[in-house]
Amino acid sequence: MEILALFIKFALLYGIVLMLVALGGMFSERSGIINIALEGIMVIGAMAGVVASIDLAGAGLFVKVAGSILAAGVAGMVYAFLLAFASVSLKADQTIGGTALNILATAIAMVIAKRVNSSTGKISDSARLVYSYEGFVYNIGGVTVNIFFIVGIVLLVLSYVILYKTRLGLRLRACGEHPQAADSLGINVYKMRYIGVLISGFLGGIGGLAYILPANPNWDFKYGIAGMGFLALAVMIFGQWKPFKIFFAAMFFAVFKSLADIADSIPLLSSLRWPKEIYNMMPFIASMIVLALTSGKSRAPKAEGIPYDKGQR
């Protein structure tokens, strides 16, 4: 029972993170922009959220929780703006721009984290931030649930509605499939793509915070976000760029990801005495197998990755 509770805790933890970030990727790619910068967006979002939670520690739980989540989302958006600017306005190669932002994110996060540490009088030559997850994590009937579970489900439903039931969603999807068609109908492709990327920044930022805050009492930003953003991209592809499929894909990957954390508590697995790295490897191997199996059926938005140039219509 204890193992099951632990398992649910981690599976939900990772599942919601992967889902949030993959949903972010979905909005961006559905508008036509490949968002490989999700990893970096998560780092920036996590950093901003953690710093906000430290600053708001004395302001009451609700303010602290809401403030940190908002800070993470907004910081993610601001950072994603850099991607949108490069790939939409300047028509840069989206993969290269995204990679640059990933590399830059870790450096920025370390500079800021060190700054925070030195200004609070702590050792300044470490990027390890210490914080409290009080208010984010609750124990319900022996199962640890964190606030991001609720946030995630709300955002999932909201994502579905926005994408399929609103004018914005229809236009956004049109821009990812056939921007020339959208343009000829008076839709501002640039604006739609900016919106897509900014939404992805918002979700990615919150996802970053959701990954590090509820599960760790401190985090060294030297490590960025350890590949979660890239896993989320695989989740998005496995989920066929569709919200509810992404949810199930995220849960599937989360099971593999949680094995590393709970293997020691499962008698069968712990008796194997496998090193932790084997479990760490599993979600990546699983994603390769899944991608290889589903590659034939993959239906990516047709215009993704191609800068839209008004002059060439």
């Binding site: 509605v161 039931k165 609103t166 229809l170 839709i187 047709k302």
Partner: protein, 523 residues
């Protein structure tokens, strides 16, 4: 005083290096069908894009109902009730017909999409103009003709009064063209005004009231159709007399070069076969033409023939050798050259220089390499020779990056490269698409020269005029099957059209296991 609904006065639009529109005036009367005629590259599409708000003119004015207007984007055009069907349809394939129609003009209720009224309006319009389509079908699942109806419905849904149709007949069968003409006349009778872009003279004579002619970006004049002839229009368009026939002797077919037996090719998009059981021969010294409406398996067949895709059944023999499963390189060395359908995708490495592209099929031959190193001087002199012989014009000769060249010169480079290889079989897919009349005549002559030199030519074309004038034998393809074989001297465009539309099938093709007798007994 004429009742002009739209006047475009003295429009000039320059792109880097080219004056696409040079002081052009076009006046559209209310309720008329007005043709805009010109060769590829004459500036028709640019002018229409200016009217539709996609481009801003450098100078000139647009008047709607006599008042000066400024059209900055398609929204402005729409507000003035101007609508456009583009040559390449602008439809989102994974959307439903209804979603495509409402896109950009959606109704919402409480922030959510509200489609009920739109659906009713679309159904009403479909009935009224005889444009039946299933609003819930996905666009990728419906035929090209249906897609055109969706495009027209898009304009009607927006209550457009001025309808621009850019080359609307290119993708239709002769019978579908007839239907479209009736629909256009119906619109005109209701007082809608139609601008109709084309380079096909027959259609202008059949449907238009007046015609404005452009040549190389310049205004050539506007004429009443009832006062003019095809010959006069073509002279205005090209600037000289044009012969509509290709000079050639009767063909003297020799031995069989290509033999195709029961070839079947699976479809990429759907779960059926794109090419079904196709069998025919091509002999030395003849031009065989594969005719048909776009999307009836010609593309897939050629890709299987040239090795770009795999067959799932049947056999292909070239010069007596079985090449059914051979690699592309093997086929090329056995004696096949290929002018591909898509010159940008297949025919050229656009970011390579012209000289590098000229040896694209030969760079590995000892003439051009030594110990694995490219012999640049040999490549240069070879390319220079081809450039001169085939009159390929470019900014920096052999060092021009091909991307910077005009479409016509790119095509000449490919045709030159493939013909010069002197192979037994030349496969040419739409070799004249997008070219001006001069280049078309030139390439037709080259094809005939290859034939007269004893080469076998398999020509795939969508242009019936080309099919009729160039080929020695015509095979019509419909839904992946060959449904008829014709001698161009003994058939008509109308007859071909019926076969192309699938309305008829010659009896010997009704049996799927048919294998044509050796020697070609229909001559």
């Amino acid at each position: 005083m004429d009742d002009y609904v739209i006047e475009m006065l003295h429009i000039t639009k320059t792109f880097p290096g080219i004056k696409a529109n040079d002081d052009i005036t076009l006046q559209l009367r209310r309720g008329e069908i007005h043709a805009l005629l010109g060769e590829n590259g004459a500036g028709k599409s640019t002018l229409m894009s200016v009217l539709f708000g996609l481009y801003q003119p450098d100078s000139g004015e647009i008047h709607k109902d006599g008042k000066l207007v400024k059209i900055n984007n398609p929204n402005d055009a729409n507000a003035l009730h101007i609508g456009m069907v583009h040559q390449h349809f602008k439809l989102v394939e994974v959307f439903s017909v209804l979603d495509n129609i409402i896109l950009g003009a959606e109704d919402t209720k409480f922030g959510l999409l509200h489609k009920e009224e739109a659906r009713k309006k679309v159904e009403m319009l479909s009935r009224r103009y005889n444009l039946m389509v299933d609003p819930d079908a996905l666009v990728e699942d419906i035929s090209v003709g249906m897609q055109q109806r969706v495009e027209i419905l898009k304009m009607l849904y927006r209550d457009n009064e001025i309808l621009i149709l850019d080359e609307p007949t290119a993708v239709l069968t002769p019978q579908e063209i007839e239907e479209l003409i009736q629909i256009m006349k119906g619109f005109a009778a209701e007082g809608k005004s139609i601008l109709f872009i084309t380079h096909k003279l027959n259609e202008i004579m059949a449907v238009a009231d007046r015609c404005t002619v452009l040549r190389k970006g310049k205004y050539m004049g506007t004429v009443d159709i009832k006062d003019t002839t095809k010959e006069e229009l073509s002279r205005m368009m090209v600037g000289r007399d044009v012969s509509f026939t290709v000079d050639k002797k009767a063909s003297e077919p020799g031995e069989t070069v290509l033999s195709v037996r029961n070839v079947t090719v699976p479809s990429k998009l759907h779960n059926n076969n794109a090419v079904k059981n196709v069998s025919f021969d091509v002999r030395a010294g003849e031009i065989v033409c594969l005719a048909g409406i776009e999307g009836n398996g010609q593309t897939e067949f050629v890709q299987a023939l040239t090795g770009l895709e795999k067959t799932s059944g049947g056999s292909i023999t070239l010069c007596g050798k079985d090449i059914t499963h051979a690699t592309i390189r093997k086929r090329a060395l056995t004696g096949m050259s290929h002018v591909p359908e898509d010159r940008h995708k297949h025919g050229l490495v656009l970011d390579y220089t012209l000289e590098e592209n000229m040896v694209l099929q030969r760079y590995f031959e000892p003439e051009f390499q030594k110990f694995g190193f490219i012999r640049k001087k040999k490549v240069r002199s070879y390319a220079q020779n081809l450039i001169e012989r085939f009159d390929v014009r470019s900014g920096q000769g052999p060092l021009t990056i091909v991307r910077a060249m005009s479409g016509g010169n790119q095509q000449k480079a490919i045709v030159g490269r493939e013909i010069d290889r002197g192979t037994s079989l030349l496969v040419a897919v739409q070799p004249t698409r997008g070219l001006d009349v001069g280049a078309i005549e030139y390439i037709h002559k080259q094809l005939v020269d290859v034939r007269d030199g004893g080469g076998a030519v398999l020509l795939v074309s969508l242009e019936l005029e080309e099919v009729m004038s160039v080929s020695d034998r015509i095979l019509v393809m419909y839904e992946g099957e060959i449904v008829g074989e014709f001698d161009p001297k003994q058939t008509t465009v109308q007859e071909l059209g019926l076969y192309m539309a699938g309305a008829r099938k010659q009896p010997q093709f009704a049996d799927a296991a048919y294998i044509k007798k050796e020697g070609g007994d229909r001559q």
